[in-house]
């Protein structure tokens, strides 16, 4: 469903070149919950931004259902962004809008009718368990509830893929568990393929069926979660698993 070939991203600035990603290959199948794990600065976020079409790759291609999306511009680009839902570590909700209107936002952008918006937002808020909070403002919610609103909002356009950028890194362990449960349910019940960027091995352990370990802009290991977690080959994976001592 998503096929990334030889993805490379170089950031050019006046006096230096930074290679954030080099030669990334990734194959995500429909229905996967794919974890991409790495330490800070490994290139995780850049990879996510490329898949979310917020960043143009320097080289390589990103295919979604067989067509390359990395070179899209203008209207087509906007159309394609709507097929990919994104949630962020910082939730990025509209603070001056109610919970319902936040979820309605992507629908408003596509000029969906008012009745349709009402129906869809009711359904989505029910799914994320916030049916009774529709008229609250984000400032009145807890972190976990805010992330639930963000998830409902990301699902509003009926995306095939949900990209999650450190979705639980700002949450306590109990809330993290409940958000991960929700993502799992969404994956199972709505058939949404999920890609999760994280630095927490716990996230990968609890919901990802596949995992890619990224370091210094390239994958050092990819495959089934079970296999990689039980028999890690790369020292970086061992480090993330806590199997080796961190030096320095």
């Amino acid at each position: 469903m998503i096929k990334i070939n030889n993805l490379t991203k170089v950031f050019d600035s006046a006096d230096s070149e930074v290679t954030a990603l080099k030669g990334i290959d990734l194959h995500v199948h429909k229905g996967d919950i794919y974890g991409i794990i790495g330490m800070s600065g490994a290139g995780k976020s850049t990879l996510l931004r490329c898949i979310a079409l917020l960043e143009n790759p320097t080289e390589g291609s990103i295919e979604v259902n067989g067509s390359d999306i990395s070179t899209l511009k203008g209207k087509e680009l906007i159309q394609h962004r709507k097929q990919i839902g994104v949630i962020f570590q910082g939730y990025n909700l509209l603070m001056q809008r109610t919970v319902r209107d936040n979820v309605a936002f992507p629908l408003e952008l596509s000029n969906v009718s008012k009745e349709e918006i009402k129906k869809t937002t009711d359904r989505l808020l029910e799914i994320v368990g916030l049916g009774d909070k529709a008229d609250f403002y984000p400032s009145q919610l807890s972190g976990g509830q805010k992330q639930r609103v963000a998830i409902a909002r990301a699902l509003a356009n009926d995306p095939k893929v949900l990209l999650c950028d450190e979705p639980t890194s700002a949450l306590d362990s109990l809330t993290t568990k409940s958000i991960l449960e929700l993502l799992k349910e969404i994956n199972k019940n709505l058939g949404v393929t999920i890609i999760i960027i994280t630095h927490e091995i716990g996230v990968v352990k609890s919901i990802c069926n596949k995992v890619a370990v990224i370091d210094s802009g390239s994958f050092v290991e990819t495959g089934d979660t079970k296999k990689i977690l039980t028999d890690p080959e790369s020292p970086i994976t061992r480090l993330l698993l806590g199997m080796t001592e961190v030096k320095g």
């Binding site: 917020l54 962004r81 962020f88 909700l93």
Partner: protein
């Protein structure tokens, strides 16, 4: 003092009315120019939603030039232009022309600052949902920064009250005109003090009103 106020009741009423007229009228038009200009500067900045470095630099220059000319000089320099626009160079309406020209770049900077307070993540999120630039401006930038924009509006309104008082020096009318004519040229301190008290009251009312509105509409603090 009270006698003085009652004796000159009509003059003070007219002065207050003219001051308010100049302030409201010129604030409105200053925003008509300054709001789009501020949005344009913000969006065209490097890293903005529609980066245009050259346009951004030129706009920055225009705003800075507008803001660096002392108002009293600007007013005199604009006399020919004012005559062209309103047909005369004396009176409150004539004063509005230079007030608008002086305030528009000021407003543009205030608007830009308000927009910059926004968290970039929200704009990013809107982009991932397929928002066009126009939708980002109308549905994210402006609604999300409304409380800050209202506070900016109070700052520019009060600045314009000050400017409009200065306009009195070249026959612009209003309370400033009264203060200069009676207090400065005729040494009638009583009249000058009354105009100052009136100005203080007006500024206080405006500030309280806008603070109240800004607090009321801000959904981040419920």
């Amino acid at each position: 003092m009270l006698d003085l106020l009652i004796q000159n009741k009509d003059m003070f009423l007219q002065g207050t009315w003219e001051s308010l007229y100049m302030t409201v009228f010129s604030t409105f038009f200053a925003y008509l120019i300054g709001l789009p200009l501020g949005i344009w500067v913000y969006t065209s900045a490097p890293g903005g939603i529609a980066p245009a470095p050259k346009t951004n630099t030129v706009l920055g220059w225009i705003i800075n030039i507008g803001r660096s000319i002392p108002f009293i000089i600007l007013m005199v320099a604009l006399i020919p232009f004012t005559r062209m626009v309103v047909g005369k160079s004396i009176g409150p309406t004539a004063a509005c022309v230079s007030l608008i020209v002086a305030a528009a770049p000021f407003v543009a900077r205030l608007v830009e600052t308000s927009l910059e307070e926004l968290d970039g993540g929200v704009i990013e999120a809107a982009k991932t949902m397929g928002a066009t630039n126009k939708q980002i401006i109308l549905k994210v930038l402006l609604p999300e920064s409304i409380p800050s924009l209202v506070r900016g509006l109070s700052i520019s309104t009060i600045a314009l009250i000050g400017y409009s008082a200065m306009a009195g020096a070249v026959g612009g009318g209003g309370l400033g005109d009264i203060a200069i004519r009676y207090g400065y040229h005729r040494y009638q301190q009583g009249i000058m003090i009354i105009t100052i008290i009136l100005l203080v009251i007006i500024v206080q009312i405006i500030q309280c009103l806008f603070n109240f509105i800004a607090r009321k509409i801000d959904k981040r603090t419920i």
